[in-house]
């Protein structure tokens, strides 16, 4: 497997990727700013959103039990999975029991997290991704690069070429509308014949047992209502106490994600088809997935469980904007991914992620639930240092610096010498190559320091007085 740095280098060398990421994230950033400005008191609303999530995370067990009781009362089956594998196994078993040959899937990051697409393929069950961007990803045989725009790394020009190569009767006109029509033609027939519909949940409503999905394409409704069986996979942190809480979170989610006041489709599903209902699945299964969430609570990552997966942190991240989502290498990219991936995949293989961040704090500034992402990233850096995962050169360099810096007299002597040496290396005010600072001077010059440190000059002046 490639390293983070290799993936980042490849991304930086791809000019099309840069255009694609900038188009979508740039638009999202601008639209979010307008939406937040127009909101009466967005800061107070963020406080409330954070408080709601903190409350449910602190009383997770009680709310989950309440949710289970109400979902069961509405006719759904509730399953509990502590690991990704267990969650996949439960889904596959339900599919097999239903005799399913194909499933229609409505985009869900939890599904990606637990590896559901792969598990379905292994079980020989056909899968139709019904979200437009997920459809693009499926055609291209790739992984999502963003949590709400899985195909954000592709330009519309690339998507057009892909559709022309893969669709049975592709668009002829080069317009977005014609391309969407081509996807609709392709998808409708497949999704309407599916035996099972699989979705995630943006919210689980404890006091009604309902689950909520939001989409802009209506694909969730079309993939979940017609099939005989509806399976929901949801992280246990998706719970909210009641409908008004869900509505508050929805207002924060849509604005933070796309800058819209509301998504085009917001649907609440309470149990399967009831007697007298004209439509709806005969069975509804809800798989509640832990997959490390309980452990995160114990490991100082409680605040991360507030996350509502809006993507604002990545849209506003200078690093994400340069390298896109795939370079991160995990299910979740960007700042939130750099906190989650070490928890999900292990720190050893993802130690780069919390380090590859300037700690500029923009992500925290835009997070609708005020997750202190930089603090959590610092926490991972500390753990990585403690466990000896940081490179030796870094440990050695910082150790020496700190050792000298703790001896002010020696420090004055050493810095005096270093500054004199650097001063001698400079030409016309600048240094263009410097031993041990190649990472800097490969791309930038270093201003030549004065011949003496501030401390030395200051002491001289004081003596003169």
């Amino acid at each position: 497997m490639s390293s983070f740095k290799e993936r980042a280098d490849a991304a930086l060398a791809d000019p099309i990727l840069k255009i694609a990421v900038e188009r979508t994230a740039g638009t999202a950033e601008a639209k979010r700013a307008v939406a937040v400005d127009a909101f009466p008191d967005f800061e107070a609303a963020r406080d409330r959103a954070a408080a709601i999530k903190d409350h449910v995370v602190a009383h997770l067990g009680a709310y989950l039990e309440q949710f289970e009781a109400n979902a069961v009362a509405a006719g759904a089956c509730v399953h509990w999975a502590s690991t990704a594998d267990e969650a996949c196994r439960i889904v596959i078993d339900i599919c097999k029991a239903a005799g399913a040959k194909s499933v229609a899937r409505s985009k869900s990051m939890l599904g990606e997290e637990i590896g559901l697409p792969h598990a379905l393929a292994e079980a020989g069950i056909g899968r139709v991704e019904t979200d437009l961007a997920e459809h693009i990803i499926q055609l291209a045989d790739e992984r999502p690069s963003h949590i709400i725009w899985p195909a954000m790394h592709k330009t519309r020009e690339q998507v057009s070429a892909l559709f022309k190569a893969k669709h049975r009767s592709p668009h002829e006109e080069e317009t977005i509308a014609a391309m969407a029509e081509s996807a609709r033609r392709e998808l409708r027939t497949q999704m309407l014949g599916a035996d099972v519909g699989i979705s995630g949940a943006n919210f689980l409503i404890a006091d009604t047992g309902a689950i909520c999905t939001v989409t802009n394409e209506g694909n969730a409704e079309l993939s979940l209502v017609p099939p005989r069986v509806h399976i929901v996979t949801a992280g246990i942190e998706k719970i909210v106490p009641s409908m008004p809480h869900a509505i508050h979170m929805l207002r924060m989610l849509a604005r933070s994600a796309t800058g819209a006041a509301l998504t085009q489709y917001t649907t609440f599903y309470t149990g399967p088809k009831r007697a007298g209902d004209r439509d709806g699945p005969e069975e509804m299964h809800i798989v509640l997935v832990d997959n490390g969430r309980t452990k995160m609570r114990a490991e100082g990552l409680t605040e991360m469980l507030r996350c509502i997966r809006c993507g604002a942190c990545m849209n506003h991240c200078v690093v994400f904007r340069q390298i896109g989502g795939h370079a991160y290498g995990g299910t979740y990219p960007g700042p939130m991914g750099s906190v989650l991936t070490p928890a999900l995949d292990g720190l050893k293989q993802s130690r780069d992620l919390p380090n590859a961040c300037t700690l500029n704090g923009k992500c925290q500034e835009v997070c609708p639930v005020r997750i202190p992402l930089p603090t959590l990233l610092r926490g991972w850096r500390e753990k990585s240092w403690r466990e000896g995962l940081e490179p030796t050169s870094m440990r050695w360099g910082l150790g020496l610096w700190a050792w000298v810096a703790r001896r002010p007299a020696l420090y004055r002597l050493g810095t005096g010498m270093a500054v004199r040496a650097m001063h001698m290396l400079g030409r016309k005010g600048w240094i263009s190559t410097l031993p041990l600072a190649g990472g800097w001077t490969r791309y930038r010059d270093i201003p030549r320091p004065a011949a003496q440190t501030f401390m030395a000059q200051y002491k001289k002046e004081e003596r003169r007085k």
Partner: protein, 252 residues
């Protein structure tokens, strides 16, 4: 007016790379009626260790810095990120240390970024200072988001005669410095600062101003590499009337 006795925490970067900023700080503080002391025991606040996860060294350097600075009624720092380290992160470092927490909190509460100190605490503004140029301003992240440094430098700079302003597109966007980030992930850092340098060039300004030498070295170093004519100063240099001297990377 009562004379305020303040300790100047120079920061290791200013000490080594651009002593003028330290002298400009002293000059501005004295003009604002402060008596300035430069405590002997100071070296580095420990931020590189703190941000790299090296907690033990961060704690050791924080203790040394606290001990050096605690005798003074106020500590002034010509850097938003070092002031932010002392103000915001020292108390976090000693969260579970009953002996050091009150000392860390006391120093944190008395530590100020220099422009916030001059503008908000002293209510001072520069007088009789003139620089005929067009400037653009970059808001360094730690100062902006940890300490709320935004209006203060602009208010002070407004009183520099002859100075006009060109707004910088993305003035609150990180320049890609990030302390050790820029040497750990140089290619990503370069892509970020490359965009920043283009944005600075696009303003048509003569001068780039900011409040943090790390960010300034990053941006000025990139501007110079790409052959830009924009000259970079720490804002306090202009405010103190030292804007006629060599800019970053100029022979003086």
């Amino acid at each position: 007016m009562r004379t305020r006795r303040v300790a100047l925490f120079v920061t290791c970067l200013v000490d080594l790379m651009r002593p003028r900023i330290g002298f400009a700080a002293i000059r501005a503080l004295e003009a604002a009626g402060c008596e300035v002391v430069v405590p002997e025991g100071q070296t580095c606040c420990g931020q590189p260790a703190l941000n790299s996860g090296d907690r033990d060294h961060a704690v050791a350097l924080a203790q040394q810095t606290i001990a050096a600075l605690e005798p003074y009624e106020a500590v002034v720092v010509p850097s938003g990120s070092c002031a932010g380290t002392i103000r915001c992160h020292y108390p976090e470092l000693f969260e579970h240390d009953a002996a050091w927490l009150p000392r860390a909190q006391a120093v944190a509460g008395r530590t100020f970024e220099i422009m916030a100190w001059l503008d908000e605490v002293c209510g001072w503004k520069p007088e009789g200072v003139r620089v005929d140029a067009k400037a653009t301003y970059h808001d360094s992240c730690s100062g902006l988001r940890e300490l709320g440094i935004k209006a203060q430098p602009r208010r002070l700079l407004k009183n520099v005669e002859g100075l006009s302003f060109a707004p910088l597109a993305g003035e609150e966007t990180c320049c890609g410095f990030g302390g050790t980030f820029c040497v750990k992930y140089p290619a990503i850092s370069n892509a970020i600062v490359g965009e920043k340098a283009d944005a600075i060039d696009a303003t048509g300004a003569d001068l780039l101003l900011a409040g943090d030498l790390g960010c300034l070295m990053n941006m000025a170093g990139k501007l110079n590499r790409k052959g830009s004519k924009v000259r970079a100063y720490h804002a306090i240099e202009l405010i103190a009337g030292m804007g006629d001297g060599p800019a970053i990377g100029e022979e003086g």
